[in-house]
Symmetry: C2
Subunit: 366 residues, 2 copies
């Protein structure tokens, strides 16, 4: 078995795991639906009481006129950018070089919508006001991802958001929020979702990150925007006869977890501090601004797989199920704090981190 | 309340309904999942044992090398045509004027894929060999929908299918099957799904028509084709982290209903005969070739809504929940035979049809 598979397997069998909400299994669906009235009628191609209720609830939470449920954020966001590009008659959108659209969607935006992209900022930092004001190209819209996931979940200051929003409004650039992890950053900004969304023309939020549901996304904005998004949703093949398996479970887990975002955030701050005290270990950001961060090691992927596997086996504690290579001598994993962390015995964690520190020192002969 | 809403409401409250498998409600999902092991792991972005097992099962049933599960047929079919167009370097596909892609998808094929379409045959009949051989334009692929839903579910002869298939092979035109209702036509053709699919390069089947699951589709073909389809699935936003709510329920209802297709077909033949004996009523096709057909009335939509509502109320029997206008003096509805018909007391049905005949005569003073 490869080191990767060995770690994955050891992680699965460890009694305690540090990140996430637990296994993604059938129970997630069963729990969400067991209490529901069996006679409750399905949505039908985006219509019906159940889907409209959920969409209205989300529109209100996001402070937008209207909201539409989508099977995926990939679909919702391409569509948002397409609508803004069509409206302005410019097929160009700006975003961060590590945007989900740029690196995880097989170029759907370009292949399906023929939208050119302008990459703003250096890939290791978030977009700042100057990146926007110094843009040479005329774009229809700008997408900001909060937090910027691929660099550990970093955020600009709230003032920067306000300034970018004001600048875009002045220049007629539509501002779209990739809010896959929007609920997760509210405790840091100490703002409501509506406060933040107020700075944007359109907003996407996800339900399987911090919320921990099965899949699905909401796209919100004004009525004219969301009506257009429904036409594109049909074109994309996302206007399913029934989407209730997703949005009803999204609703179930939203209600269970939305008030725990502060605990997740505090957990992330606590855990990152522990990691940063270990030899050869550091986190990005050093102090998290959401429930997520990246843990970097001055050690190869293979070495770290070996060490993390040992910790699973010796301590019954899964720190991560995988490690990604940065270079031959450095590697990292991403962690998102959820329910499992809240239920993790503190001494168990401290013990595991201590062993990590020892093993990191030992391999350097310290 | 409008006549339309009154009928819909009366239909819902009638003890007996003639078409379909019953209400599309939460119970459909709950039943499919209640027996499953809660620890069974979710698929992850199209990978994992559960999704691969289902895909392999469907590939074997369809006699194709490989199969991919999609959230919708809209997505699967656009992608199939796109792959064939790209392969041939011709952005042109041929299909029937009432193809789902032409009338129900907001022109996704054209808007997202820039594929031009060539409409074959008159809209009131199915595509014949001569329609294909006399085509003036060079197309990459031809889509055949079996049965042709919008004209009551009509079929060409099996010989015609074989001839079209042979002609396309000879001319290098890829042949794609819109098999949304493929399983429903097997009893008429007396062929296996694999026999029919063998005539096609690529095949789409649906799981919420005769199978009666929640949503979802399979796209099948050779390995090179399905691998490309996965890339386009991601671009479309259909590569969800978890699709199991759909394919596991598809699997559950497939196993429950696949062997009943002959009963559904026989029910359709029986019921169409009863309708054709009524005054001012006829069916298309006159003798069904699947579990579906259209019921046409020499009466306005409004008159028929009124009559069907009365039958719901007087006889507790829902013949249809809606009527569509053809002209000021003619209208129709579509019916698909499913589990409800198999459980419907015959005397109840005969009684209702007798009342329909009486009312149709009475309004003409007969």
């Amino acid at each position: 078995m490869s080191g990767q598979n060995t770690l994955q397997n050891a992680f699965k069998h460890a009694k305690y795991q540090v990140g996430g909400h637990g296994a993604r299994n059938m129970k997630v669906l069963q729990d969400a639906f067991q209490g529901l009235d069996g006679n409750l009628e399905s949505d039908m191609y985006g219509k019906g009481e159940v889907i409209e209720e959920f969409q209205n609830k989300m529109a209100a939470i996001l402070g937008k006129e209207s909201a539409v449920f989508f099977p995926s954020g990939t679909m919702a966001q391409q569509i948002a950018l397409r609508i803004w590009c069509d409206q302005k008659g410019i097929k160009k959108a700006a975003y961060h070089p590590l945007s989900h659209l740029e690196i995880h969607e097989e170029d759907g935006l370009k292949e399906l919508h023929q939208i050119e992209t302008v990459l703003l900022a250096d890939e290791n930092r978030v977009i700042q006001l100057e990146d926007v004001t110094s843009m040479n190209e005329d774009v229809a819209c700008l997408l900001l991802e909060l937090p910027q996931r691929e660099i550990g979940g970093q955020l600009p200051s709230y003032k920067t958001l306000e300034d970018i929003s004001a600048y875009c409004k002045e220049k007629g650039i539509k501002l779209h929020l990739d809010g896959a992890r929007l609920f997760e950053i509210l405790p840091y900004y100490k703002k409501s979702a509506a406060d933040i969304c107020h700075l944007f023309d359109s907003v996407y939020v996800s339900f399987y990150k911090g919320i921990g549901a099965i899949a699905g996304a909401i796209l919100a904005g004004d009525q004219a925007f969301t009506e257009k998004s429904k036409i594109w949703k049909r074109r994309h093949g996302g206007d399913l006869i029934s989407l209730y398996p997703y949005f009803l479970s999204a609703n179930y887990y939203f209600d269970q977890r939305i008030d725990k975002m502060k605990q997740y955030f505090e957990g992330a701050m606590e855990l990152s501090e522990l990691y940063n005290q270990c030899f050869g270990v550091s986190t990005i950001p050093q102090v998290p601004v959401s429930n997520m961060f990246h843990v970097h090691f001055d050690a190869s992927k293979e070495d770290m797989e070996h060490i993390l596997t040992e910790i699973c086996q010796e301590k019954n504690l899964g720190l991560s199920s995988y490690v990604r290579e940065v270079s031959e001598t450095s590697s990292y994993f991403e962690i998102s704090i959820g329910d499992l962390y809240l239920n993790l015995p503190k001494e168990k964690l401290m013990d595991g981190i201590k062993v990590l520190d020892d093993k990191m020192k030992k391999r350097k002969g310290k």
